[in-house]
């Protein structure tokens, strides 16, 4: 078990800068997710931590020791590849024992660890099959088992669930969480699936173009996104964005947008009172819009908007509504299954002012962080 510290890391392929001035600190035993869109350098970072790619510039510390020039064979960490990288010509047993054989463990030790891991990951009765003879979920567990038997200090997982179907993905992610709880290893987990990231990790490092946009607990990422990109990337359906500027009406400061004059909570209102005219990008999560049909205590900070429900999309336990104001501005929001809305119906909705996110359109930063 170990902590991982990365200081101003750089990496480029040819002239293409893949990782740029990256800083990251991971505590001992922590489950950290690297989240980001495809091609933003997540795999590259993992490969650098594993030692498969040389580090152009910057420092990598594990347990306080500089790891830049330690060959991958000697870094006691394990990696599960996106493709699982099971050796196709070896049985499950041989795959799992490969690393132990290389390390020249004794026969009894090897057997003991093997038994332990196939119990842990429920791989009994598969040991003599070849990788192509087992299912995707089983392959993923074999790949994990192969890494765990070596008792690594850090476990690197590169989108281990991306090749599984939805149902299997859920069980597998629960499995992973269970293993993390049981073994308490430091885990660096890569995914571009935000739901996985939100549910599994203790902290999320949100990547964009080889840089970390925000690094915090899932809750914090959701509740107070540091940048427009964070706000956009996290949460589903996507956040609504409106350009506007701060205005004072009836002695109350708010944000004038195409949608409406948006009110904020008391505390923030006080702050923006001093900056009338400032350009603003306001973000509204679909989940923070309420509908009158639902019995609700109205708050002072709620903004009322009248819309026409143009489209109602059923998503099972809830529905996504696309509404249009008279002026033609669109807003997407979520209603529960009890609240029924008919298409093409005029209605009033309320936007929760406490949960409007306010960004500076130029720096793209959250004003209130």
């Amino acid at each position: 078990m170990a902590d991982v510290v990365i200081r101003s890391l750089f990496k480029k392929y040819g002239n293409h800068r893949v990782i740029e001035n990256l800083n990251l600190e991971i505590h001992d035993g922590e489950f950290v997710t690297l989240l980001g869109p495809s091609g933003c350098g997540k795999t590259t970072l993992l490969r650098m931590i594993a030692g498969l790619e040389p580090i152009d510039n910057g420092e990598l510390f594990i347990n306080g020791k500089l790891y830049n020039h330690i060959p991958p064979q000697k870094r006691s960490l394990a990696m599960v590849f996106q493709s699982y990288a099971l050796f196709p010509h070896m049985t499950v047993r041989k795959n799992i024992c490969f690393g132990m054989k290389i390390k020249k463990l004794s026969k009894s030790e090897m057997d003991r660890k093997f038994e332990w891991v196939i119990n842990l990951l429920r791989l009994k009765e598969l040991e003599n099959r070849l990788p192509r003879e087992i299912s995707g979920g089983q392959r993923q567990r074999v790949a994990l088992a192969r890494s765990l038997v070596l008792d690594p200090e850090v476990l690197l997982l590169d989108e281990p669930l991306s090749n599984l179907d939805a149902a299997l993905r859920e069980t597998a992610s629960e499995e992973l969480k269970r293993i993390h709880r049981q073994l308490g290893k430091t885990i660096i987990y890569v995914t571009h699936n935000q739901v996985e990231a939100m549910t599994m990790s203790e902290r999320i490092a949100l990547f964009r173009f080889g840089r970390i946009e925000q690094y915090d607990k899932p809750r914090v990422l959701y509740d107070s996104p540091a940048t427009v990109f964070s706000a956009e990337f996290i949460g589903s359906p996507k956040m609504n964005f409106y350009e506007g500027e701060i205005e004072i009406r009836n002695n109350v400061a708010g944000i004038k947008t195409d949608l409406a004059f948006l009110k904020l909570d008391k505390e923030r209102e006080k702050t923006i009172f001093s900056m009338p005219g400032r350009k603003i990008l306001a973000g509204i999560r679909p989940q923070t819009v309420y509908y009158t049909g639902h019995l609700l205590r109205r708050r002072y900070t709620d903004t009322e908007v009248e819309i026409l429900a143009e489209l109602v999309e059923n998503m099972g336990d809830r529905s996504l509504v696309v509404g249009r104001t008279e002026a033609g501005t669109l807003i997407r929001f979520i209603i529960t299954r009890e609240e029924k809305i008919d298409q093409d119906k005029r209605m009033k909705i309320f936007i929760d002012g406490r949960r409007i996110h306010v960004f500076d359109p130029i720096t793209q930063l959250n004003i209130f962080r």
Binding site: Q73, A78, M79, F81, Q82, A85, F87, F98, K103, L150
Partner: protein
């Protein structure tokens, strides 16, 4: 319909000669020396006497052995040189490796018949003319570009992640090679070995220039060439069949690689 006729014609053109070859090899002497009558399309009395004669001739055994020994050693030497080279060319994304591979394979465009005189002269100088070793070295020279080409393809087709995983699991370069890359490249390398065998087995130009006049080390092709004016035709055909059988059998085994090689080496 036109198409069907075309197929039949093509099959006749392609298979006809093979049929005639087999027919000659089982012909009795009366079906060859017909005294002016047309040679029959199927022998009057099919017989295996040509083969019986062949396999009772100790010189033929010697020749067969020579062919086998020379091709086996060619395979060995070719593989020893070729596998490491194809490993590097297939596994490392070195700059210019595509160009290097292309250069290596286009060495084979240089005419054998033009490079044979220098090689023979050089071998005479260092005393390797008319020796097994000389022929083996020459055949290796011819086979090596193909081995490297096919082998590099085999190594290249192994996913990078597998190698990365082996390294992370603690394997050093040799362990990675022997436990992972080599077994996985095996089918391609086997094809390269078979290809080498074929090349050495029916190679003529270098064998001819390097061995001419030294009957003890003749290979099958040279033996066949040497007796073309002297022997009855059924014996010629029988030797031809013996020469061809392994070639045809192995060719069909490595067909996939041959096809890929011919198409890849050309369409680029």
């Amino acid at each position: 319909m036109l198409w069907f006729t075309g197929i039949i014609c093509a099959l006749v053109i392609v298979i006809g000669p093979v049929y005639l070859l087999l027919k000659y090899s089982v012909s009795d002497i009366n079906s060859i020396n017909t005294g002016g009558n047309p040679v029959p399309m199927w022998p009057y009395n099919p017989t295996l006497q040509a083969y019986v004669y062949l396999f009772s001739d100790s010189h033929f055994y010697q020749v067969l052995l020579n062919s086998v020994v020379i091709s086996l050693f060619t395979i060995a030497l070719g593989m020893i040189l070729g596998i490491p080279a194809s490993y590097v060319l297939g596994r490392y994304k070195l700059p210019g490796r595509k160009v290097l591979l292309l250069m290596i394979i286009s060495v084979r465009l240089f005419p054998d018949i033009a490079s044979v005189i220098p090689v023979v002269e050089f071998f005479i100088k260092i005393g390797m003319h008319q020796t097994y070793l000389g022929v083996i070295l020459a055949h290796t020279l011819l086979a090596l570009p193909y081995i490297i080409f096919i082998g590099a393809g085999a190594f290249e087709s192994i996913p990078d992640d597998l190698e990365g995983q082996a390294i992370i699991l603690g394997a050093n370069r040799f362990q990675t090679f022997f436990k992972l890359l080599f077994p996985l490249a095996m089918p391609g390398l086997a094809a390269a070995a078979i290809y080498t065998f074929l090349l050495s087995w029916d190679e003529f130009i270098f064998s001819y220039f390097l061995m001419l006049g030294k009957q003890e080390i003749y290979t099958l092709t040279l033996y066949l060439n040497g007796i073309k004016y002297a022997e009855p035709q059924n014996l010629l055909a029988a030797i031809s069949v013996c020469l061809s059988i392994p070639v045809i059998a192995f060719s069909f085994m490595v067909q996939k690689y041959m096809v890929a090689g011919i198409s890849a080496g050309s369409v680029k």
